[in-house]
């Protein structure tokens, strides 16, 4: 169900090698080595969006979180191209010529890679978690060339066939290479230890992934931004996980600067967004939420200023949306608000001020934000539709603490570390059961399976983080190293001043 723990078994490379003997065309998927915990969710979602079942494409046991390569079998070339284009976490999909456990093995198993004497070709060299010098690379390339003696001309620019020799080496859990060949200064590390690769692939380049969307719509190019604008890559991953396709009907109940809906529009969705804060919607002269959509010629979203806690009073219809994608406010960048006031003594608003009166809002506790979000999703989504949201937390929050709803089934939880203390999860839920109006309150009550405590763990995260950092510093000082490691800015400035003074004095 949820993301799988990284199981690094020595059998995995052997099993990929053994499947290489089967007759069906094999494809090698090369993932970007980023967002490691999101890759399986993202890839499976892309497959499901193309009406493919992940188990028919690859064996789940072959998927290793730490390995960026995966051998798959697609029904045809067209589907493979579509899958590659639909996700930002795929770099390239290759067609496999041969897979070996060592270079020699791969050379021995390889088949001729050009078919006619007029076919132009080139060979490129790629390595994961290791390095080869130019002369080593050329030596390996010539092993393939000498074996097959391709008769066509070599062409470095736009050849008919581009072959890739890929050496995959293991990495540690931290992401560092298991067998580094060069140190930080670039000089080779002499080692007598054998460096066995995980796999060596010889394959032809086939279809590039959808990475270009990340650069094309990067936040840097947008006119309207705010502190809550979501990183383009992650928002595209979220939209993909929500199975956003052309003409999907998408809702973001906490739209803010509209960065998630922007990505949904890029993927072809028709978007509706609501937010309580009119300042982020209208902006300060940049044109507000609509600006970026207008700049990039995307269909404009429908923006409504309203209160998410009153969503069911504002929207009549049920079960219309294909996906609900959102990053609710948790008080790190922006706090949540809802209509109403907690003040008892209120002066009545005089009639002459009524036209431009700004209604008060009150704090909206995270526990209620989440309960309302799940209720909105259970009510608004079509059966089979998906809710995707982010939830940040400190170390003490576990997957069992996540809010639940009778109508929604947890599909994926992907963890993204955001520093030593903080991390956030992308949660994907699928609507599995029809909405029953009478059960709204009953279902809402059961939102937090571990009681109010879970909600308290994500409440006031900024304060919690400050407290945790303070505690760590105190602990460090007690052990004698904290003072040096955790100097405040003021202390550092003072020390620098002292040094300058001292230098003047000694000169």
């Amino acid at each position: 169900m949820a993301s799988q723990p990284s199981t690094r078994s020595s059998s995995s490379s052997a099993s990929t090698a053994s499947t290489a003997t089967s007759t069906a065309t094999q494809y090698l998927v090369h993932f970007v080595h980023r967002h490691l915990d999101f890759r399986k969710c993202d890839f499976d979602s892309s497959l499901i969006a193309q009406n493919l079942s992940p188990s028919s494409i690859y064996a789940a046991s072959n998927f290793d979180m730490l390995r960026p390569f995966l051998i798959c079998t697609f029904p045809d070339d067209e589907t493979a191209t579509k899958v590659a284009k639909s996700t930002v976490l795929i770099k390239h999909i290759y067609k496999v010529n041969s897979v070996g456990e060592t270079t020699e093995d791969c050379v021995a198993k390889s088949k001729p890679f050009t078919s006619s004497p007029t076919e132009s070709w080139k060979i490129v060299f790629d390595t994961f978690a290791s390095k080869f010098t130019k002369s080593e690379q050329s030596k390996i390339m010539h092993q393939f060339i000498d074996l097959h003696k391709p008769s066509g001309p070599v062409k470095m620019k736009d050849p008919t066939t581009t072959m890739s020799i890929i050496h995959e080496y293991p990495v540690k859990i931290s992401g560092a290479p298991m067998y580094p060949r060069f140190d930080h200064s670039g000089s080779p590390i002499p080692s007598n230890v054998d460096r066995p690769p995980l796999s060596v692939y010889f394959c032809s380049n086939f279809a590039a992934g959808g990475r270009d969307l990340v650069e094309k719509y990067t936040l840097k190019k947008r006119t309207y931004l705010g502190p809550t604008s979501m990183d383009n890559e992650l928002s595209l991953i979220m939209c993909n996980a929500a199975l956003t396709r052309p003409q999907s009907y998408v809702l973001d109940p906490f739209v803010g600067t509209g960065s998630i809906l922007f990505s949904a529009s890029v993927l072809g969705g028709i978007c509706v967004g609501t937010d309580i804060d009119t300042r982020v919607l209208k902006g300060k002269g940049e044109g507000g939420v609509m600006r970026n959509f207008l700049d990039c010629n995307l269909p404009l979203p429908e923006i409504i200023r309203g209160d998410n806690s009153l969503h069911s009073r504002l929207f009549r219809s049920r079960e219309v949306y294909d996906s609900i994608i959102t990053d609710p406010p948790y008080g790190i960048r922006a706090g949540a608000r809802k209509s109403g006031t907690t003040e008892d003594r209120r002066k009545p608003i005089p009639d002459e001020h009524r036209h431009d009166h700004i209604p008060q809002t009150q704090v909206y506790p995270v526990g209620d934000v989440m309960a309302d979000l799940l209720t909105v999703a259970a009510r608004g989504l079509k059966v089979g539709g998906r809710l995707v949201y982010l939830i940040p937390s400190l170390k003490d929050f576990e997957e069992g603490d996540l809010p639940t709803h009778e109508c929604l089934e947890l599909e994926w939880v992907c963890y993204q570390p955001l520093g030593l203390l903080l991390g956030r999860r992308m949660v994907v839920m699928k609507k599995v059961k029809g909405w029953v109006e009478e059960k709204e309150e009953e279902w809402k009550e059961k939102c937090w399976p571990n009681g109010k405590e879970s909600a308290d763990k994500v409440e006031k995260l900024r304060e919690q983080m400050a407290e945790a950092a303070k505690k760590e510093r105190a602990e460090g000082e007690k052990q004698g190293w904290g003072g040096k490691l955790h100097k405040t800015k003021k202390q550092r400035k003072k020390e620098m001043r002292n040094e300058v003074e001292l230098k003047k004095f000694t000169d």
Binding site: P246, Q247, Y249, I270, V272, I276, T278, L281, K282, G288, V289, M290, P299, L300, E302, I303, I304, R305, G306, D307, S309, L310, R313, L314, F315, R316, S317, E319, V320, K338, S339, G340, T341, R346, P348, I349, H357, P359, Q360, D368
Partner: protein, 127 residues
């Protein structure tokens, strides 16, 4: 505000019994051009209240919609295209929405409808 959204919206004032449909008084209407998709129109049509759409369209100056849904809706492509135009392309950029029960007015400015409630409207809010 698109007419598709208008079809889903109702007044969120507590005292309103149904608050539906909201009465549109447009001051500016912009017609955009978006890609037509057969599947999307058919999907959203399942949730559209037809008489309300006809009424809303006439409030925006479009009087060509028939008073009842044509029976052979799924096969009539040119009609579906026209429907897509009415549902998605017609945008009320500024104007006023009025609650049919209470007369409360909600403004539309720069295409954004404002459904924020005043303090006194919230006092009985079930939260």
């Amino acid at each position: 505000m698109k007419l598709l959204t208008h079809n889903h919206l109702r007044s969120n004032v507590r005292t309103a019994t149904t608050g539906y449909p909201l009465i549109i008084t447009p001051t500016e209407i912009r017609v955009t051009d978006t890609e037509y998709n057969d599947k999307f129109v058919k999907h959203v049509m399942q949730n559209v209240n037809w008489p309300v759409l006809v009424q809303a369209a006439s409030q925006c100056g479009i009087t060509t919609l028939p008073p009842t849904i044509p029976p052979n809706l799924t096969s009539d492509t040119s009609f579906l295209q026209a429907l897509h135009h009415v549902l998605v392309n017609v945008n009320v950029v500024s104007g006023v929405l009025k609650c049919p029960d209470t007369g409360r007015e909600f403004s539309i400015r720069d295409g954004i409808c404002d459904f924020m409630l005043e303090e006194e409207e919230c006092e009985n809010v079930k939260i």
